[in-house]
C-alpha cells in the first residue's frame, strides 16, 4: 500500500505517496514527473539514474524512495539557475561530452557530486568518479575533458 513521505527535491519540499518497494528513481519519474533522471538498466549498473542524495551521488534505482524520507535530493533539473546552465552542464555542451543525451543526466550528477567534494580533481579522480556511468556514444574522452573544464571554470569563478 502506498504510504506518505516527504523529500526535498531541488530545494522544494515534496510530499507524496509511494509503495514501500518503490525506488527513488520511480518516485522521481512517476510521482514527481521529474523525467530528466533516466532509467537505463534499473539494476545499478549503468548510472543513468544518478542523483545527489544529501550531496552524495547515488544510483536512484537502488535507493528506496522511503529511505530518502526527509532527505535532500538534487536531480539534473535542479542544476541550472533559470536559463543559466550549471558550469558542468555548460562544459558538457561546449566540449561534446554528450551525444544521444540519455546517460548524460547521470554523468552530470556524478560530476557535480565529485566537484562538490573535490573542487579541483585530477584527471584520474575524474575518471574514477564516473567509473560507474556507462556511456555508449562518446567513448568517455570528451566527458572527462568536459568535467575538467567545468572544474577549472568553477575555480576561476571562485577566484574572480
Amino acid at each position: 500500500m502506498k504510504k506518505p513521505l516527504q523529500i526535498t527535491v531541488n530545494g522544494e519540499i515534496r510530499q507524496f505517496f509511494a509503495e514501500p518497494y518503490c525506488s527513488l528513481l520511480d518516485a522521481l519519474r512517476d510521482e514527481l514527473l521529474l523525467t530528466g533522471t533516466k532509467k537505463g538498466c534499473d539494476e545499478g549498473d549503468c548510472g543513468a539514474c544518478t542523483v545527489l542524495l544529501n550531496g552524495q551521488a547515488v544510483t536512484s534505482c537502488l535507493v528506496l524512495a522511503h529511505s530518502a524520507h526527509d532527505s535532500q535530493v538534487t536531480t539534473v533539473e535542479g542544476l541550472a539557475d533559470h536559463q543559466k546552465l550549471h558550469p558542468v552542464q555548460q562544459a558538457f555542451v561546449d566540449h561534446g561530452g554528450l551525444q544521444c543525451g540519455f546517460c548524460t543526466p547521470g554523468l552530470i550528477m556524478s560530476a557535480v557530486g565529485l566537484l562538490q567534494e573535490n573542487p579541483n580533481p585530477t584527471e584520474e579522480e575524474v575518471r574514477f568518479a564516473i567509473g560507474g556511468n556507462l556511456c555508449r556514444c562518446t567513448g568517455y574522452n570528451k566527458v572527462v575533458e568536459a568535467i575538467l573544464a567545468a572544474a577549472q571554470a568553477m575555480q576561476n569563478k571562485l577566484k574572480a
Binding site: E19, R29, L33, L34, T35, G36, T37, K38, K39, G40, C41, D42, E43, D45, C46, A48, T75, V76, E77, L79, A80, L85, Q89, Q90, F92, V93, D94, H95, G96, L98, Q99, C100, G101, F102, C103, T104, P105, I108, R127, I130, G131, G132, N133, L134, C135, R136, C137, T138, G139, Y140, N141, K142, V143, V144
Partner: protein, 753 residues
Amino acid sequence: MTTSYQTIGQPVSRAEGPDKVTGAALYTADLNLPGLLAGKCLRSPYPHARIKSIDASAARRLPGVRAVLTGQDIPENLVGRMLRDFPMLAKDVVRFVGQKVAAVAADDLDIAQHALNLIEVDYEELPAVFDPVEALEAYAPVLHPNFMKYAGRADDPQEHPNAMARATWGIGNVAEGFAQADYIFEHTFRTPHQHQGYIEPHAVIAQVDGQGRLQMWVNCKTPFLLRRQLSEGIGLPQDRIRINPINIGGDFGGKGSFMDSHVAYWLSKATGRPVRMVMNYIEELMAANPRHPAVMTFKTGVKRDGTITARHARLIFDSGAYGAFRPQKGITYGIGAIGPYRMEHSQIDSYLVYTNKVPCGNMRAPGAPQSTFASECQIDLIARELGMDPYQFRLHNLVRDGEESPLGHHWRNFMGKPTLDAAVREAGYQAPKMTPPDLAADGGDWKVGRGIAVCERHVGAGSSTAKISVDGQGQVTLYTPLQDTGAGFYTMLRQVVSEELGVPYNEVSLVPWSTDDARFDSGVGGSRVTHVGGQAVYGAARAVRAKLAALAADLYGWPESQVVFKESMVAAAGHQAVSLGALAARSGGLVEGDFTYDSERDEDLTCFTAQVAEVAVDRETGQVKVLNFTTAQDVGTVLNPQAHQGQIDGGVMQGLGYALLEELKHEDGRISTLTFGEYKMPTIADIPPLRTVLVQSQSGGPSPYGGKAIGEQPISAVAPAIANAVLDAVGASVTQLPITAERVLQALRSQPA
C-alpha cells in the same frame, strides 16, 4: 579542398545540447498521456516448443488488468523489416527464449507484471539447434517449415531450409588462383553476439484515437519503414498511422526494428487507452536484436613473395530464430570480407542461418566487424608464416589508387596506402617495444606487441526530404524527417543551413517531422545521414536562397547572382544591406523551400580506415591491456570536427568492447549474461589513450561540401588490430572473440613447445 566556409568545418557544439543537459529533452519513456496504461509481455522460457494451451483467465480477473492478449486474439500476420517471418505474438510455436507469447495492459507496471505471472502456458519442447554450422546439417530440425510461403524472402534457392539467405560475390576463379599459389592457408574464426548497448531500452507508446487512427511515439530511427511494417501487421493503411518525433537514447543500428510496436497497438485497441511498453534491460539482453554471431572460414593462396593469388571466404551468420530484423532482401553481410587487397580471384559465400536463439539485427557496420576480424587476423597469420612484417605484407598487397578492388570495383581516389602509412607513423609502430614501468613492477610476465588492421566501407545512400522556412522576423526553421539518435546531425544540418543562409547555426530552429509530414525518408543509419540528410537540407537551403535572391532582385533591382547572405543580412555590392527578416517580410509571408534527395550507393567510392593497437599481455594470466590505440581515417570535408571525432571515439570504444569484453553467452539457447554486470561494456577504465589522424582525400565524397562518412567506419578493424597485437606480443593466435584472458592462455598453451 577549399576551406572558405563560415560554419562548415567548425567544431561547433551541439545546438540541442542545452536540452540534453538539463533533462528537458524528452525520450519515449518520459511521455505521459491521460489514461496511460502499462503494457508488458510474457516471454517463452524454451528455445523451441509447441504451445499446447494458454490459460489467461486468472490474469484477466486480476483487478487493474485492462487487457490480456495471446496469439489467439490477434491476426496471424507475420511481420518483418523485409523478410516477414515473425508473429506479433507466438501462437503455435516458440523458437527462442524470450519470444513473446502473451501481452497484458494494466493500470500500472506492477499489476501488469503480476498478471503475467498468472498466465499458464503449457509447452511441449521440440528439438532445437543452437550452432549455425550444425543448423546446416541434414539432421538439424527445420525451424521454419513454411519458409517458402514467407513474404519478402530472398529468391535464390537455398542449400538447406535453415539457410534463409545466401549470396556469393567475387571475381575470377578461385580454384585457378589457388593453383597458382605456393602456399594455401585456411583458418576458421568465430565471433559472438554483440548488443548495441544503447542505454535507453526500446520503448513505445501507442494510442488508437476516436477515429481508429494510430498515434505512436517510439524510439525508432526509421519511422517510415516502421509505419509500413505496422501497416502489414495490424492491417491499418499507412495513412492511418502517425509516428511522432521523439529523441532516441542511442541507436548504433539497434533502433530500427519494431520490437513491441505491434503489440502496443493491439493493447491500445483492446483497451481504448494509450499503452506504454518499455523493455527492461534483462529483456533487452535476452530478446532485442543484437549483432549476428558468425563462423568464418578463410582460405587464402599466396606466392612466396607474399602476393595474394586467391581468397575464398565462407561466412555463416547466425540469424537466430527470425530474419525479421534484417532490412535487406538478400544479404549484404560480409560483402567487404575479402579485404582491400589486390587479387585476381576472390569468392565470398555468405549465409544467414536460422537457429533457436535471439533474432539478430543490425549493429554499426553490420557484418563488417565479424568478417574484418577473420580477414585481418588471417593476414597477420600468413605474414608471420612467410616471415614478413604484417605492415609490409599489407603494403605489398593493398589495392592502389586506380587498381581494381577484389570485388571488381574501381575506387576513385583510393586512400589505402596514405592512410595505412599515417596510422603506422602516428602509432610509432616501428619504435622499440617497452613494457610500461607500472606493469613491469606488478610481477607479471608482460610482453608488449603491436598490431595493424584495415578496412574500407562505403558512403551510404537513400532518400530524405527537408523544408526550410524564413519568417518576417528572420527566424529560420529547418524541418526534417530524421530522428535524433545522438550522432550530432541535428547540429550538422543546422550548420548547412547556416552556411547557405548566413545565419548563426544555433539560431536555426529545428523541427522534426512526423510520418504525416513527409513522403518518405530512409531513416538514420548505414553511413547515410551526412550524405543523404545533408544533401536534402542543402537543396532546401539553396531553394530558399534562390527565392530570397529573386525577391531582392525584384524589390531592389539587385543583380540576382550577386546577392550574398551573411550575418543574418542580405546584401549586394554597392547597396544598403537588408536583414533576412525584413526581406522575407516583403514576400507577404513565409519564404519556404524544400528538396527531396534520392541516391543510389556509389560502389566506386569508399572510406578507408587503418588502426594500430599497442597491447601488453601477461604470459602468466593471459590478461590483455591495451596501452594505446591509433585510428587513421580517410576523410573528405569534415563538416563538424567535434561530432566527427565523437563518432570515431564511440566507434573505437564499441570495437574495444567487441574485442575484449562483450559476449551474450548462451547455455542451450538461454542467454546467461542478462545484466551489465555480466554483459560487460567498456567503462572509462577500459579506454586507453586514443589517437586519431585524419587523411584528407582530394576527391572528397557525395555529402554537401565534399564530406564522406564516419559513423560505421571506425569499429570494424579494432578487434583484429588488438588480436594481431596479442599475436605480436606473445605469439598467441586467438581466433574467437572476445579475446579474454582464458582464451589467450589457452592459445599460449596450445603453442608448440
